[in-house]
Amino acid sequence: MFRFIARRLLETIPVLFIIVTATFFMVRFVPGGPFDSEKATTPEIRANLEAYYGLNLPLHQQYTNYLKAIVLHGDLGRSTKYASRTVNEIIADKLPASLQLGGLSLLIALVLGLTAGVIAAVKRNTKTDYAASSFAMIGICVPTFVLGPLLVLVFAIHLGWFSASGWYDWQDRILPSLTLGIVYAAGIARLTRGGMLEVLNLDYIRTARAKGASEARIILKHALRGGLLPVVSYLGPAIAGILTGSFVIETIFQIPGLGREFVNSAFNRDYTLVLGTVILYAVLIIALNLVVDVVQVWLNPKLKFE
């Protein structure tokens, strides 16, 4: 297992290198630059700014300077938009809110999704199943930018239980996490139901029943392990979606997270911030996918670390 993890970690190095290189050059070839603004800057000012940020150097030299700074000092550079902040500072400042939002949403997605999925599978073709499946269908169909404002309208504006926006106390975490979590809860519920239904028909479940194991034990101990497999493989892309999808939620609820910087930096042509956030998300997604793979092998005896 350790060899498997070590090999996978080694594989990430070329992957990250390709991501950094591709992003570095792609963002430069997009028309417009960080100093293009509605009010035109004079050529002198532009030249001074470019000199300060090293943008006047030949592109290949900027590229090697950038790589050197990252590899040697872990320095992601200075933001062109936020004049007195470095990209490292911006990430340190804004990542915690995004991680909290992502973590809570994932928790909600798992708790709601697994519960609904298991119940639907056990009570197959009953009203309970239909109710849980409809919940899942609605969850998949309603986009976050509709659900979010809807929840705000009901719970913040009409009932006055929560703030419509902001990220101060624990109450402020509830509506955003719910909005982002429900979408994935829906997907998880459908996959859990499907996985469980398949497993519940297998021989070993019948054996367990014949041995007189209680229904709860059969479901939670025996069936769930196999039934979860499709959910676990779905979690990889789901986590990526939750992390990068937080942009919409952060905008709707005014959360000081990194998702907004991730998107806005591209509009601002803040080259270093674009690269910094892309690298960060790439690392996060690669790491979480590795965790998912390990969990998958652990759950499924048929798979081996190889």
């Binding site: 028309p31 417009g32 293009d36 035109a40 532009r46 001074n48 004049a83 913040a156 239980w161 509009f267």
Partner: protein, 540 residues
């Protein structure tokens, strides 16, 4: 009956929500009214709190609480009133301004605000390495442009001097009746150089003095907390010279980019004021809550720029024809619906008492006649032209309306070319467009801030239009002290501009926002400036 498990699930979710919310809580606005803390939505987050680097109107929103220049603004008319300078003398030739600083003006760290602070600040703005976007606003001072462009390295040759610690003398390149208004711009505000020196180089970007721990200002409020992406808190300054008349105890600025999110925050009692209001919601507020809706005039023009170096539109008659064939009233009344005025020239009517008399009215018959004279009767033989616009719902609807009118009235085909913001700016810089959607917001309340845009040397004149007579008129106007004579020169210049039509005026902006009735002293001003020391909250 619903299955018990679903009922259980639903009720537990509901309980959780109810417990979390507990009871209806006191809103931020209610609390603010009690404590005299104003909650203001401010649009996108500020990039920095350095007045010499700041470029946008929402930077001003925060900075104006933290700094004060030589002159301040009257809360109703924005006319220059004493700020750090308690009085000033103007030499008879209008070239030399002598400001007498009040002795009790203080920085937030207790240091007195001196003439030396102002000189050091202006030197900083003009130092090329700082690359301050607004440095050009100081070019009116003798030799300032030369110093900024590096042709001159001795700052003592620039027209600033400090005869003593409380006197500042400024010598201008030419008389300028709007100079005092210009001084209200944040590029002219002082910074505390010793603080900047401690935090890094004052003459380079990336200086970190604007952090809460190190920040020093001289305005009616001090920086208390800056949580990026969340809020900026400022609190009443005890050392401000006029602290006795400041009624607010503090202001919390909320950076909310999304207009709909901002409106929801207002509705749930988190904001006293929004930065703007989505167009789609204007009617509903007008109908249901007219007491919350504010539509103020705003010093800005929405227009289309012609690239006059391109065939077909290099012909003035064609440009005029296109400009005449725009249904401006239809656009303002049916599409925008928030008090915007149809624009018939470039300078907004009533800019510092000046209203342009030359007009491009909407007249389809004249438009057809001009087009026929130019050799395109009923639009025969006209090429397809592109309108370049940055992605935005409003820009698109207006362009579609104009596209439809031109097709129907003139027989001209238009293609709409929709691009993301910075891509449009890149195309504009390369002059790679035919017609470009544009807007211009005045820097200060004077026709010069509009008409200077069309001079040959202006960096913001993207049309390629250049007219020596026009340049000469503006040059003369800048050197004319008498307001009536100066306005007459502006009228002549604007007439030349309108006759040649390197642009199509479309509408004059308004500022549409929501305001809680408890906010007092928030007067409609052309530049959307609201000096905070005159604002207070009255819960009634």
């Amino acid at each position: 009956m619903r299955p018990p498990i679903v009922r259980l699930l639903l009720s537990s979710v509901f309980c959780l929500l109810a417990v979390a919310g507990c009871l209806k809580r006191e809103t931020a606005v209610e609390r603010g009214n009690r404590d005299q803390i104003l909650h203001r939505g401010m649009g996108p987050e500020v990039a920095d709190l350095d007045p010499h680097i700041a470029t946008t109107a929402n930077d001003y929103t925060v900075l104006s609480a933290l700094f004060e220049g030589l002159v301040a603004e009257d809360p109703k008319t924005l006319a220059p009133v004493p700020g750090v300078a308690e009085r000033w003398d103007i030499s008879p030739d209008g070239l030399t301004y002598t400001f007498h600083l009040r002795s009790n003006a203080k920085w937030s760290n207790g240091d007195p605000v001196t003439a030396r602070d102002f000189l050091a600040s202006w030197q900083r703005v003009l130092t090329p390495s700082l690359a301050a976007d607004n440095a050009y606003l100081l070019y009116i001072v003798q030799n300032a442009e030369g110093f900024h462009k590096g042709q001159l390295t001795d700052f003592t040759q620039v027209g600033f001097s400090a005869p003593d610690a409380h006197t500042v003398r400024i010598t201008l390149e030419h008389p300028a009746s709007y100079f005092l208004s210009l001084l209200q711009h944040w590029a002219w505000w002082p910074v505390h150089l010793p603080t900047l020196e401690k935090a890094g180089s004052p003459y380079q970007r990336g200086n970190r003095w604007t952090r809460v721990e190190t920040f020093v200002g001289n305005g009616p409020f001090n920086l208390k907390e800056w949580r990026t992406g969340q809020h900026i808190d400022v609190t009443k300054s005890p050392v401000y010279w006029d602290a006795a008349s400041v009624r607010l105890n503090g202001i919390r600025f909320h950076p909310i980019e999304d207009l709909n999110a901002e409106e929801r925050a207002f509705r749930s009692g988190q904001l006293h004021l929004t930065e703007a209001l989505p167009v789609a919601k204007v009617d509903a507020y007008r109908r249901d809550h007219p007491d919350l809706l504010r539509i103020d005039p705003y010093l800005g023009t929405y227009y289309y720029t012609f690239n006059i170096t391109r065939p077909f539109i290099n012909e003035a008659r064609v440009r005029r024809a296109l400009a005449l064939a725009v249904d401006r009233a239809g656009i303002t009344e049916k599409i925008l619906r928030a008090g915007q005025l149809p624009a018939h020239a470039f300078t907004p009517p009533g800019t510092a008492g000046y209203t342009p008399t030359a007009r491009l009215d909407s007249n389809f018959d004249d438009a057809r006649r001009l087009l026929a004279e130019a050799g395109y009767p009923e639009g025969k033989g006209t090429p397809v032209i592109d309108i370049l616009l940055n992605t935005s719902e409003n820009h698109r609807i207006i362009a579609e309306e104009i596209q439809a009118t031109w097709r129907k009235e003139l027989g001209i085909e238009i293609r709409l070319n929709n691009m993301e913001g910075k891509s449009v700016l890149a195309a504009r810089r390369a002059r790679d467009f035919q017609i470009l959607r544009s807007s211009w917001i005045g820097d200060y309340n004077d026709p010069a801030t509009f008409l200077n845009l069309w001079t040959s040397g202006s960096g913001n004149n993207h049309s390629g239009w250049s007219n020596a007579a026009y340049d000469q008129l503006l040059f003369q106007a800048a050197r004319t002290a008498d307001t009536a004579a100066r306005n007459a020169l502006f009228q002549q210049a604007e007439a030349l501009l309108v006759a040649d039509a390197p642009f199509i005026p479309i509408y004059t902006y308004t500022h549409v926002f929501l305001k809680n009735p408890s906010v007092q002293g928030w007067h409609p001003t052309l530049l959307d400036h609201h000096p905070y020391k005159h604002v207070w909250l009255d819960p009634k």
